[in-house]
Amino acid sequence: MSAPAPSHHEGIRDDLFDPAFLGRVEQLALLARRMASSGTRANRRSRIVGSGIEFADHRGYTPGDDLRNVDWKLFARTERLNLRLYEEEEDLSVYFLIDRSTSMTMAPDGEKTLLDRALQVAAALSYIALSNLDRVAVVPFADKIAAPMRPVRGRAQFFKILRVLSDVPPGGRTDIQAAFNGWLRTQPRPGLAVVISDFFDSKGLGDALRLLTYRGFEPMVLQLVDRTLLDADVQGDLAIVDCETGETREIVLTPQLLARYRAAFEMLGHDVQRAASEVGARCLQIDLSVPFDDVVMRVFRAGGFLG
C-alpha cells in the first residue's frame, strides 16, 4: 500500500515544513549565531592556499608554484623549498547531498521516513547556513543527480530551498560514487558537502568521499538509521526482497540469524565512520527517533559547520 501524497502549500510540504518547524529553525539559527562568530562576510575558514593572512601550513614546492609564496627563511635553515600556506577567508558553499533512494523511504504506514528526516535536517542547516551568508545548494541523489541546483545566498532564498526540498523525488537505487561523479562533472564550486544518507550502498562510501576530497570539498557525513527495522517479529521461512534492486533471497530467519543481522548493521555504521575518518570528515550516526532539532544541535557540537 503506497502512502498518500504529501500536501503542499505554495510548493512547500506541509507535513515537513510547518510553522512550528520554521519557528524551531529560527531558534536554532539564533543559537547558532551565539555559538559562532558573526560578520557580514562569510567567516568560515577554508584550508585552501590563498591570499589570506593567517598562516596555516607548509607544503613542498613543485614546479609552477608561485615563487612569492616560497618561505625563504625556512629555505635558509633547511635548504629545501617549501611554500607557505594561508587559510583564505571566503564565503563558503554548502551542499546538502541528500540520498533519495528507495531505502530512505521505507517506514511503517504513517511514520516518518529517513528521507523526511533528511529533508528536515537539510532545511534547518540550510537556514543556518543562509543566515551565515553562505551559499547553499541542495543536491538530491540516488544513482545519479536528477537536476542540480545552483547555490543560492541570503535568507530570502530559504523558501526556494524549501521548495526544492519539497520536490525531491523519492526512489531509485543507491550508487553514491556514480552520483557524485555525475555531480562533480557539473563543476560545482568546492565547499562543505553534507552527505545525508543511510549509506545502504554495496560499493561502500570510501571512494565517493575520497572523490569529494580530491575535488576540494570538505565532506561531512550524516548517517541516518532506523533501528525499528531491526525489531523484526517474524521467523521461519522468508523471502527477503531488496527494496531497491528487487533481488530475492530465501532464508529461514532464526533468532540467531537475526542477532547476526543486527551485528552486521552495527558493523555497517562502523564502516561509514571509518570511511569518513580516512578523509578527515566528521561523521554522525543519527537515529530516526531523534528529533531534527537535536540532530542539528549534534551537528553544531560536532563542529565544522559553524566554522
Binding site: D198, V234, G236, A239, V241, T245, R249, I251, Y261, A264
Partner: protein, 675 residues
C-alpha cells in the same frame, strides 16, 4: 501395561482412533501444505548477503539438508497414506507378512476362582496347571510359536507370540488365580483373533472345567479358513473325566457362603436378623461355625478376620448341599458386615476362597413425613396420637402436621421435594388426593362398604402377604377393630390384609409411585396401642420410600459394574487391598470391574463414600464340572470385525511413526537453515 491391555485399548477404541487419525492426518496435511515463505521487503539486501556469507560456503550441506527435508516430507506422506489405507485394505495390501511355516498355539489358562481350590497334587489347581503346562512346553516342538493367555472374567496376554521356552516358563510362573468367574467365550474369541492368518492354529485350554467333545472346530477369521484344533489340559477332578462318560462324583470337603441376607429391625436398625445360605460340598453333615464380623473400614477376608471386627460366633449344622441358617439379634451397628463359615472341628477346607460373604448395610436416612389429619375430634396441629407415637417409635422421621382444611396437594408435589422436604404424606381420615409423585399412606374409613368387625367373635382380619416388606413381623391376632372399610382391589394391587371372608382391607400399590391404603381408623380399633402398629408404620414408611432392604445390592466379581452416585466430584476407586486410583465415570454412574472379592469403595474428594460388597460368580464352584465344548461351538464364524481389529495396532503404528517423524521435522525445522 501389558500386551493385552494395549491390545484391548486399541481394539475397544477403534472408532476413537479412526476419528483421531483423520483429524491428525488433516492437521499434518495442513502443516505440510502451509505457506512456507513470506515475502519481506528489506532496505538493504546486501546486509543480509553479508550475514549469510558463511552459509553460502556450505552449499553442499545446504542442498543435502534440503534433500533430507524433502525426503522426510515424502516419508511422512507415505506413512499417512499407509495409515489411511490400512483399515480399508487390511492385510491384503499392507498387513500380509510372510509367516514361517511353524505351528501356532494359543494356551488359555483358567485363572478363575475355582483354580484356587487346594485339591491338586501340587497344592492348588493352578499350581497343578502350572506344572502340567511346564511339562507340555517341555514336550512340545521347540519351533512352535506360543501365546499365553490368562483367562478369568477377561483374557490377559502373559506372553506374546514366541518360541522362547524360558520366557514362556517365566510367564507360567507369573500366573495367579483371581476371585472372578471364567468367561470362556471371551478367552476363545481372543485366541481366535490372535490365530488369524497363522499357520497350523491350535488352542490349548488348561482348566479345571470338564472335557469337551474333541475335536472342536473353530473357524478362524483368516482368508485360508484353516481349522483351529482345540485340546484340553485338565486339572482337578476333571482330570479323570473322559468324554462321553458320566461326570465323576466329587469328594471334597468344602463349606461355602452363598446368599447373604440381613433384615434390620425397623424399630431398632442397630440389630437385625441374618440369613446365610451355606453350601456343604461334602456328602455328610458338618458341624460348622459362623463367624460374624462387622466393621466400618474392613474390606476383605483378612481385615474382617481381625479380632476387633469379630462380633459373634454361632454354631450351626450344615447338611449336605444348600441350607439356610437364620441368626436373630445380630449386631448391625457397623456399616459393613461379613460372614465366614468354617468347620467347627477344624476340617481342611479345599476352597477357602468361597468361605466368606460380604455385605454393606444400607444407610437409613431421615424421612420427612406430612400428616394430614381429618378425623373428628383430633387436634390437627398434633394429629392422631396413636399415629404420632408410631412415627416417634420409628425414630428417623421429621413430622409436619397440617389440618385437612389447610391441605393443598399441589404444594407437596415430588418435583418440589427439595423445597418442602416431604418424602411421605400420611392422610389420616382426610379424603384428599395425594400430591403428584409423592408416596403416601392412606388411612380411611370413608366410603362404602364399611363393616364392624370384632375379632374372635366375627370375621377375622388376617395378613395375606407375609413376604411383602410392609407386613414383615406383623400379626393381627387378638386385635379388635370396630370398623373396617372393604377396599375394592384394582389390577396390580398387592393385598396386604383381608377380612375373611368378606374382602380386602389393606393394599399396596406401585404404579409409578408407591401407595399403601388401610381401610381402618385408628380411633376405631385397639391396633394403635399394640406393638404391631409401630411396626406397620415403620414397614410402610420404609417400603414407600424404597428403603425396605437392609443391604446394598451386591456386585458380581469380575463383571463390569455401574453404581449410581452423584458424579459432580472427583472420585477415587479403592479395590480391596489396593491403592486408590481415579475412578471411571459415565453419566451419573461410577464404573468399575474387579476380580477381587470383598468390599469395593468409591470415595469422592468431598468425603462422600459409596461402598459395594461383591458376591462370587455362581459358576465358581469347586465341585461343579462343566463341559465347555458346547460353549466353543456356538462361537460366530469368521467375524469380519476381527480382521479390522487385528489391523488396528499396525496402522496405529504407521500413524505413530508419522507423528514421530513429523515431530523431528518440526523440532529441527528452525535449525535447518534453508538458505
Amino acid at each position: 501395561m501389558n500386551a493385552l491391555h494395549v491390545h484391548e485399548l486399541l481394539t475397544n477404541s477403534a472408532d476413537l482412533l479412526r476419528v483421531s487419525a483423520a483429524v491428525l492426518a488433516a492437521i499434518v496435511l495442513l502443516y505440510l501444505l502451509r505457506p512456507r515463505q513470506r515475502r519481506v521487503e528489506v532496505p538493504f539486501g546486501g546486509l543480509w548477503q553479508r550475514v549469510l556469507a558463511e552459509s553460502e560456503s556450505r552449499v553442499v550441506g545446504r542442498n543435502l539438508r534440503r534433500l533430507l527435508s524433502f525426503l522426510l516430507m515424502l516419508l511422512i506422506a507415505g506413512l499417512l497414506i499407509a495409515t489411511l489405507a490400512e483399515p480399508l485394505f487390511g492385510h491384503v495390501t499392507f498387513g500380509q507378512r510372510p509367516e514361517p511355516a511353524r505351528p501356532h498355539t494359543v494356551v488359555i489358562v483358567d485363572v478363575s476362582a475355582s483354580m484356587q481350590t487346594e485339591d491338586g497334587q501340587n497344592g492348588t489347581r493352578l499350581a497343578e496347571a502350572q506344572a502340567a503346562l511346564r511339562a507340555w512346553l517341555l514336550a512340545g516342538p521347540p519351533q512352535e510359536d506360543v501365546l499365553l493367555l490368562a483367562a478369568s472374567g477377561h483374557a490377559e496376554v502373559l506372553a506374546g507370540w514366541g518360541s522362547d521356552r524360558a520366557a514362556l516358563n517365566d510367564a507360567v510362573d507369573r500366573l495367579h488365580a483371581t476371585d472372578g468367574g471364567l468367561d470362556l467365550r471371551r478367552a476363545v474369541d481372543t485366541a481366535q483373533q490372535a490365530l488369524a492368518h497363522r499357520l497350523s492354529p491350535r488352542i490349548v485350554l488348561v482348566s479345571d472345567a470338564g472335557p469337551a467333545e474333541l475335536p472342536l472346530d473353530v473357524t478362524p477369521p483368516s482368508a485360508a479358513q484353516e481349522q483351529v484344533a482345540i485340546e484340553h489340559l485338565r486339572v482337578g477332578p476333571a482330570r479323570a473325566w473322559q468324554p462321553g462318560q458320566p461326570a465323576p462324583e466329587p469328594t471334597l470337603t468344602n463349606l461355602a457362603v452363598g446368599e447373604l441376607r440381613v433384615r434390620a429391625d425397623p424399630l431398632d436398625p442397630g440389630r437385625g436378623t441374618l440369613s446365610v445360605q451355606i453350601r456343604n460340598d461334602s456328602k455328610a453333615p458338618v458341624a460348622a461355625q459362623l463367624l460374624l464380623a462387622g466393621s466400618d473400614t474392613a474390606f476383605d477376608a483378612a481385615t474382617f478376620g481381625a479380632t476387633d471386627a469379630l462380633r459373634r460366633i454361632v454354631d450351626v449344622d450344615a447338611p449336605p448341599g444348600l441350607s439356610t441358617q437364620v441368626v436373630p439379634g445380630v449386631d448391625l451397628t457397623a456399616a459393613r458386615f461379613a460372614v465366614q463359615v468354617r468347620g467347627k472341628a477344624g476340617q481342611h477346607d479345599v476352597a477357602p476362597w468361597d468361605d466368606w460373604g460380604f455385605a454393606v448395610l444400607a444407610e437409613r436416612r431421615e424421612l420427612g413425613v406430612l400428616v394430614v389429619s381429618g378425623a373428628p375430634g383430633v387436634d390437627p396441629s398434633a394429629g392422631n396420637l396413636y399415629l404420632a407415637a408410631a412415627l416417634f417409635a420409628h425414630g428417623k422421621v421429621k413430622v409436619q402436621h397440617v389440618a385437612a382444611a389447610d391441605y393443598r396437594p399441589e404444594t407437596f408435589a415430588a418435583r418440589d421435594r427439595a423445597r418442602h422436604g416431604i418424602d411421605v404424606v400420611v392422610l389420616d381420615q382426610a379424603g384428599f388426593a395425594l400430591p403428584e409423585g409423592t408416596p403416601g399412606l392412606i388411612l380411611s374409613l370413608a366410603g362404602a362398604p364399611t363393616e364392624t368387625l370384632r375379632l374372635a367373635e366375627g370375621p377375622e382380619l388376617a395378613v395375606r402377604n407375609e413376604d411383602h416388606p410392609a407386613m414383615r413381623g406383623i400379626s393381627f391376632a387378638d386385635t379388635n377393630f370396630d370398623k373396617v372399610r372393604l377396599i375394592p382391589p384394582r389390577p396390580g394391587d398387592t393385598v396386604l390384609a383381608v377380612a375373611k371372608p368378606r374382602g380386602v382391607v389393606m393394599v399396596a400399590r406401585q404404579d409409578g409411585v408407591r401407595t399403601i391404603e388401610w381401610g381402618i381408623d385408628l380411633l376405631e380399633t385397639d391396633l394403635g396401642a399394640r406393638y404391631a402398629m409401630p411396626l406397620l408404620v415403620s414397614n410402610a414408611l420404609l417400603w414407600l420410600v424404597g428403603q425396605e432392604e437392609s443391604l446394598v445390592p451386591p456386585l458380581l466379581v469380575g463383571r463390569p459394574w455401574a453404581v449410581d452416585a452423584p458424579v459432580d466430584a472427583t472420585w477415587q476407586y479403592v479395590e480391596p487391598g489396593q491403592k486408590p486410583r481415579p475412578a471411571r465415570t459415565s453419566g451419573r454412574q461410577l464404573l468399575g470391574q474387579s476380580e477381587r472379592h470383598g468390599v469395593h469403595v468409591w470415595q469422592s474428594d468431598g468425603d462422600r463414600l459409596v461402598a459395594r460388597a461383591t458376591v462370587l460368580a455362581p459358576t465358581e464352584n469347586p465341585t461343579l464340572l462343566r463341559p465347555w465344548g458346547q460353549t466353543v461351538r456356538t462361537l460366530p464364524a469368521a467375524p469380519q470385525v476381527a480382521r479390522e481389529r487385528l489391523g488396528l495396532p499396525r496402522w496405529s503404528l504407521w500413524l505413530l511413526a508419522a507423528m514421530v517423524i513429523l515431530s523431528v521435522e518440526w523440532v529441527t525445522y528452525l535449525r535447518r537453515r534453508t538458505v
